[in-house]
């Protein structure tokens, strides 16, 4: 049985039934990476020996009837800004090319305790911001649906690896959309949890006040299983929230009748890919068919949210990279350098005004969510970008449809909802809800995926 596109839930069932073993699955996926990743560049570093050792340990325990949790024996990979003891963590940057952390990130300790099998470290935009870049020590990852296109970013390798069937799940990070955007253009599921839901300790920072870690998988059900292992309070992460972790699997009821959704059409009605509006409309009809009530709703413009988020981000980013920018600016990739340097000219009053504006915008979302169980919009405004090194940098010029929920710190999940006709590339729906309402987001996405099969379509790598 080829495990390439089995879900985490299916792998767990097959382990229980002794029809597949963690070692078989890990070996098969390592072979798949070896056969196909030369054209996708999703991994910066594969760790086969360590992966097989972890798989063997998991197999021994499972054979003895000890199941640690839903990820026991499940292969996964990490965006290479998540620190791993004894394994280089590069940030896809010349600046950290030889950095070997002494300790694991907190979420890695949770994954190890849960018996998950680490297969390696994944490509990212430089320090989770600068990309796609062709002037770094490793090439940018490519989109498995068509390697002439990019997989989005900054969790570029994570989305490519999951979509390619190299791993059933990966950990990415999302400051302004770096999980949801790449998930959207690769046709997989990507969750930015609530700010403070998953520890950021041991993860290279991008924007302290907006950094999130979260899972990318091929189904909403698998997001629930992954989140179950990595969610929770961490007293050593100042942003962590001490809120009990619910049973996310219990949310996967398949039933959404009576739920009320606000549809934010004005964010994607103009300037988006021409196939996006009909794809979202069709998804909305599926949800209505399942008994949900969907009404249009108006929030502030994407331009407002993007300006607010980006001003905060570049000020914080500059504080992180100031020393290196002053002493070795040429060691940054061009895109990262030109995105971070503007932070040097952000005045204190600009930053604080943006933080005050953030509170206003976040309150707007919170008040809207008193009327609705969830908000719906597109997961990305366009399909994947062509892999063209000469594309202009659109960080500031093009508003982002993922940044609003970064500003709000809300849980937001991107799932596939169709394909473009011209390019044959994935389109995506985004679902957001109130803080800590991940169960609601997962319930809606799971119900949608029970009624559709977009998430069951996979790229042919041959």
């Amino acid at each position: 049985m080829d495990p390439a596109f089995l879900t985490i839930a299916e792998l767990g069932r097959l382990y229980d039934q002794r029809e597949l073993s963690p070692v078989e699955v890990t070996r098969s996926l390592l072979d798949r990476v070896a056969a196909h990743d030369a054209k996708l560049h999703s991994f910066i570093r594969v760790t086969p020996e360590a992966a097989l050792a972890e798989a063997q340990a998991a197999e021994r325990e499972l054979m003895a009837g000890r199941r640690r949790g839903p990820l026991h024996g499940i292969p996964y990979a990490l965006k290479d800004i998540v620190e791993t003891a004894g394994i280089p963590t590069t940030g896809h940057s010349k600046l950290c090319k030889d950095y070997v952390p002494a300790a694991d990130a907190h979420l890695v300790t949770l994954l190890k305790a849960g018996g998950a099998v680490l297969m390696g470290k994944l490509a990212t935009w430089e320090f989770a911001l600068g990309g796609p870049s062709w002037d770094l020590p490793w090439p940018p990852a490519r989109n498995p649906w068509n390697p002439d296109y990019l997989p989005g970013g900054s969790s570029s390798g994570a989305s490519a690896a999951v979509a390619a069937g190299f791993v059933p799940g990966a950990v990415g990070t999302d400051t302004g959309g770096s999980i949801r955007g790449p998930a959207a253009v690769c046709g997989i599921a990507g969750l930015k949890p609530t700010y403070g839901r998953v520890s950021r300790r041991g993860v290279f920072p991008n924007t302290f006040t907006m950094d999130h870690c979260g899972p990318l998988t091929r189904s909403a059900g698998d997001i629930a299983l992954f989140l179950q292992v990595i969610a929770g309070f961490d007293a050593e992460d100042p942003g962590s929230e001490d809120v009990p972790v619910p049973d996310y699997r219990a949310a996967l009821t398949g039933r959404i009748e009576g739920l009320r959704f606000g549809l934010i059409e004005h964010w994607y009605a103009q300037g988006a890919h021409p196939d996006l509006v009909p794809a979202i409309s069709a998804a909305v009809e599926v949800l209505r068919g399942l008994g949900a009530v969907v009404e249009p709703v108006q929030l502030s413009s994407l331009r407002d949210y993007t300006d607010c988020k980006t001003t905060i981000s570049i000020a914080e980013l500059y504080s992180i990279h100031e020393k290196d920018l002053k002493t070795r600016p040429q060691d940054f990739g061009r895109i990262l350098r030109n995105r971070v340097l503007p932070g040097a000219l952000i005045r204190a009053e600009d930053y604080v005004q943006a933080l005050r504006w953030r509170a206003v915008l976040a309150r707007e979302q919170a008040l809207t969510l008193k009327r609705f169980d969830a908000l719906l919009t597109a997961g990305a405004l366009n399909v994947a970008d062509p892999a063209d090194p000469n594309q202009p940098d659109r960080l500031v010029s093009s508003p982002s449809i993922t940044m609003p929920f970064s500003v709000g710190g809300l849980p937001a999940l991107a799932i596939p909802c169709g394909f473009s006709r011209a390019e044959g590339l994935p389109l995506s729906l985004q679902i957001a809800a109130a803080p800590m309402a991940e169960p609601t987001v997962l319930r809606i996405a799971h119900a949608y995926q029970q009624a559709t099969d977009w998430h069951r379509r996979h790229p042919d790598l041959h």
Binding site: T209, A235, E236, D237, P238, G239, R303, D307, C308, T310, T311, I314, L325, K326, P329, Q330, R334, R337, N338, R339, L341, P342, A344, L345, I346, D350, V352, Q353, A354, L355, R356, W357, R358, A359, V360, A362, D393, V396, S397
Partner: protein, 71 residues
């Protein structure tokens, strides 16, 4: 009434050089040219931030002494 700074003229290349030096950056000329090319879009963005929030409007991240990690 205007609530932002978008009416201000864009900084000239010379002004950008001065601001950059005042920030303690001594960029090679090639990198400075790149920065001069990208800064105007960021400057326009920052100037669109509203400046008319009420006196008591708190920033989104306020100091929480119980969450400061010790040792």
């Amino acid at each position: 009434m205007r609530t932002d700074l978008s009416h201000l003229p864009p900084s000239t290349p010379d002004e950008i050089r001065v601001m950059t030096r005042r920030a303690g950056l001594d960029l090679p000329e090639e990198l400075m040219q790149q920065f001069i090319a990208v800064w105007p879009a960021f400057e326009a963005m920052v100037r669109r931030i509203p400046r008319d929030l009420g006196r008591a409007a708190e920033p989104a991240h306020s100091y929480r002494p119980l969450r400061i990690v010790r040792g």
